[in-house]
């Protein structure tokens, strides 16, 4: 039947790596830290690969390996530690462990001189642990554990260079904004529990299947709450503000967490709960609107950024918008497909940017770069592959996945579908433009900073670049046309999605044409750039350069009032009233009662005598009245006549 796949090893190996490196890492020699850190993801990848092999050899999916270990048993709430492997989680795991391993290798070279070397790898392994838990989880609560955990790992890694105030602030911002999203997620989980009685995905799916007429209403509310969580984790409107700041972290972290894996958790979650979203057309529409709006919004901001990592950050937000759009038109397989190809080329883009930054000794401003084509050839060619992929040129990976989404939007038939298609198309134009802008500014032309002599990076960093470039080139071919079938029931794929191939080809041609237009415009503007920004004169430049003042808006409307209220509560209510009041009260009581009792100590012998007599009389009275009852309480029963 089902051979045991040891799925539980997948999260536990990185966790072991985290524990060892975290506790002992400071005292271990560097080579040992590296070895431990690399073995964990590699071993996890091996287990996943084995599972993939077993699948292709005919093992049944979904493969549920519940530890069948009851976690919570409280009234109506019963939650197990159960891990489930199906096609969807298999794809995610391959990406996480595979790309994760490559980024680990890259980090060996990138973080080589850092004092917190062991801490970095410990956190990275911790992240892998939580991410795999998130993906493997068979119920919403376990997924939430992974959900929160990756947020924690992200915070730790963004603020890795914690002595830098901006890095520490960015870490806090990421965590807090995520928290807001997580609030929505939790509400969704509560509603799920209230309406379905169970948090296990298979249970919920079964219950829904048994009620074919149940649509809308509470299901929409649940989906919107879950969507709120997804916007936080996947940096969509309105909770995207943490992702650009997250670039304060080391570049491999940006590649792994904020490009390939963590930010995709939101998309994964929607795909995982597709059976819920399918029942609520309104929720799906909202998802699509959020995705399309974010894609456009972020792309416009990315047009005018000067920091190479910021451009990539906004690009990530924009591409995530595409994935949400794909899910929003119920083409979950297209969304996941784009997730996979995006993992390849975005990770590659970040790593190559890291290589550039490393080679230039820390310079991140594109206006100061230029002409690196000759000085860093391998980086140049791999990055070129990535740029072509993200712009959506045939035959690179991005072409297939982006097209799948755009086609699905168009083919939906509704007016909104066509609007989404158009927005997606326009965003593709912008994407092509700003990516090639980046490409020209960084690599082409003459070096704008003659003092900087860039050197090519070591092969520990270049190796992963090359491998990812191969993925960016060939990744699309893996899934073209077949991805939906492969994912099958895990995303509710129905073969009827395969529509007219003629329409598909037409749309693809349009998309490629649009990408070429973008390249052309970039070529005209940036080919021989001397460092001035040609767009600076364009109307609306200031708005874009200030990122629509969203951060300032949030700061004024949300952050400042909360800080003011907190300060007020802390200083006046807690400090002054409660603590001060308590101290004053206690002291007052003591002093007051002391002043009263003091009068008893008069030194007057006769009053003492009087009180003595009174006390004796009281005892006597008590003895007369209730002597027997008192003794009975003590356990002595006397047989006395009278009293």
């Amino acid at each position: 039947m089902n051979e045991p796949l040891y799925l539980w090893l997948i999260p536990l190996l990185p966790f072991a790596g985290f524990l060892i490196n975290g506790i002992l890492g400071a005292r271990l020699p560097k080579w040992l830290v590296t070895a431990l850190a690399l073995i964990a993801p590699l071993a996890s990848f091996a287990v996943v690969a084995n599972a993939a092999r077993a699948t292709s050899a005919g093992a049944m999916l979904p493969h549920a390996e519940g530890l069948q270990y009851r976690w919570i048993d409280a009234g109506l709430l019963h939650v197990d530690f159960n891990v489930v492997l199906d096609q969807l989680s298999l794809v995610m795991l391959l990406i996480i462990t595979g790309v994760g391993f490559l980024i680990h290798v890259y980090s060996v070279g990138y973080m080589h001189d850092d004092k917190g070397y062991w801490r970095y790898f410990a956190y990275l392994n911790l992240f892998l642990f939580f991410m795999t838990v998130l993906v493997l989880a068979g119920n919403a609560l376990l997924m939430f554990v992974g959900w929160e955990g990756v947020g924690l790992a992200s915070y730790l890694l963004i603020g890795f260079w914690y002595q830098k105030t901006s890095a520490a602030d960015a870490g806090k911002k990421a965590f807090i904004v995520n928290r807001i999203g997580d609030f929505g997620f939790l509400i969704g989980v509560f509603l799920l529990l209230a309406n379905f009685g169970s948090l296990s995905f298979s249970d919920i799916a079964t219950k829904l299947a048994a009620n074919p007429g149940w649509t809308g209403g509470i299901l929409t509310t649940i989906c919107v709450c879950l969507l709120l969580g997804a916007t936080g984790k996947s940096a969509q409107l309105p909770l995207y503000v943490w992702l650009p700041d997250a670039m304060e972290g080391p570049t491999p972290v940006s590649a792994l967490i904020h490009a390939a894996t963590m930010v995709t958790a939101g998309v994964y979650m929607i795909a995982r709960t597709h059976f819920l979203f399918d029942r609520s057309p309104l929720a799906l529409l909202i998802v699509a609107i959020v995705g399309a709006a974010t894609a456009l919004f972020a792309a416009t901001i990315g047009l005018v950024q000067n920091d190479i990592k910021r451009v990539l950050a906004y690009s990530t937000v924009s591409q995530l918008g595409y994935m949400f759009l794909g899910c929003g038109v119920a083409a979950y397989s297209a969304g996941i497909f784009h997730l996979m190809t995006h993992a390849f080329f975005k990770a590659l883009l970040f790593l190559a940017a890291g290589s550039v930054i490393h080679g230039l000794g820390g310079e991140q401003d594109m206006r100061k770069m230029g002409g690196l084509r000759k000085q860093m050839p391998v980086t140049f060619w791999t990055m070129t592959a990535a740029v072509l992929a993200i712009a959506g040129f045939f035959p690179f990976a991005g072409f297939f996945s982006k097209d799948a989404i755009l086609y699905a939007a168009f083919a939906q038939g509704t007016t909104s579908g066509k609007v989404f298609w158009f927005i997606g198309l326009f965003t593709a134009l912008l994407t092509s433009f700003y990516m090639f802008r980046l490409w020209y500014l960084t690599f082409m032309g003459k070096p704008r900073n003659p003092e900087l002599h860039a050197h090519e990076s070591p092969w520990s960093m270049l190796g992963p670049l090359v491998l990812l470039a191969l993925g960016s080139i060939g990744g699309g071919w893996i899934g073209a046309g077949r991805f939906g079938e492969f994912l099958g029931s895990s995303v509710g794929y129905k073969a009827a999605e395969a529509g007219s191939s003629q329409l598909e080809i037409t749309l693809s041609v349009v998309a490629v044409a649009v990408a070429l237009i973008g390249w052309f415009i970039a070529h005209r503007l940036y080919r021989d750039n001397e460092g001035r920004e040609p767009l600076a004169a364009a109307p609306g430049y200031t708005v874009l350069a200030h990122k629509y003042w969203v951060d300032e808006l949030y700061g004024a409307v949300i952050v400042k009032p909360i800080l003011a209220i907190s300060r007020f509560v802390l200083e006046w209510i807690v400090e002054f009233a409660i603590l001060g009041g308590a101290a004053w009260l206690l002291g007052g009581i003591m002093t007051f009662s002391g002043a009263i009792l003091q009068r008893w100590q008069s030194g007057n012998l006769r009053s003492y005598a009087a009180w003595l007599a009174a006390g004796a009389a009281a005892v006597l009275l008590f003895a007369l009245v209730s002597w027997n009852t008192v003794l009975a309480h003590v356990g002595i029963h006397l047989n006395m006549a009278g009293h």
């Binding site: 008069s602 030194g603 007057n604 012998l605 006769r606 005598a609 009087a610 007599a613």
Partner: protein, 100 residues
């Protein structure tokens, strides 16, 4: 034939008179004498009950009370003398400071 309760009543009266004297009187020595009165009242009670239950132990109790009262009187009067030396007064109202 006299009921024992009469002896007991007498004893109670003597005791209460001793209490009154203890509370009312101003002279230290008189207060002390009231205490002796109280003790005697109690002694009478003991002897009465010893007669009632035909127990010798009751009388022995009185014996010990007498011994202790004697010792107490000796020491107490010595204290009164010492207080008088320090305060030059025997009025209980005037002796109201702990420090001598």
């Amino acid at each position: 034939m006299i009921p024992i309760s009469w002896y007991l009543l007498l004893s109670a009266t003597l005791f209460c008179l001793g209490v009154v004297g203890f509370l009312i009187k101003r002279n230290l020595i008189t207060i002390f004498m009231s205490i002796e009165l109280m003790l005697n009242g109690v002694n009478l009670s003991f002897v009465a009950f010893a007669h009632q239950w035909h127990l010798v132990k009751g009388q022995i109790f009185v014996f010990f009370v007498m011994v202790v009262a004697a010792a107490e009187a000796a020491v107490g009067l010595a204290i009164i003398i010492a207080v008088f030396r320090a305060r030059a007064t025997l009025a209980v109202d005037r002796i109201d400071l702990m420090k001598l």
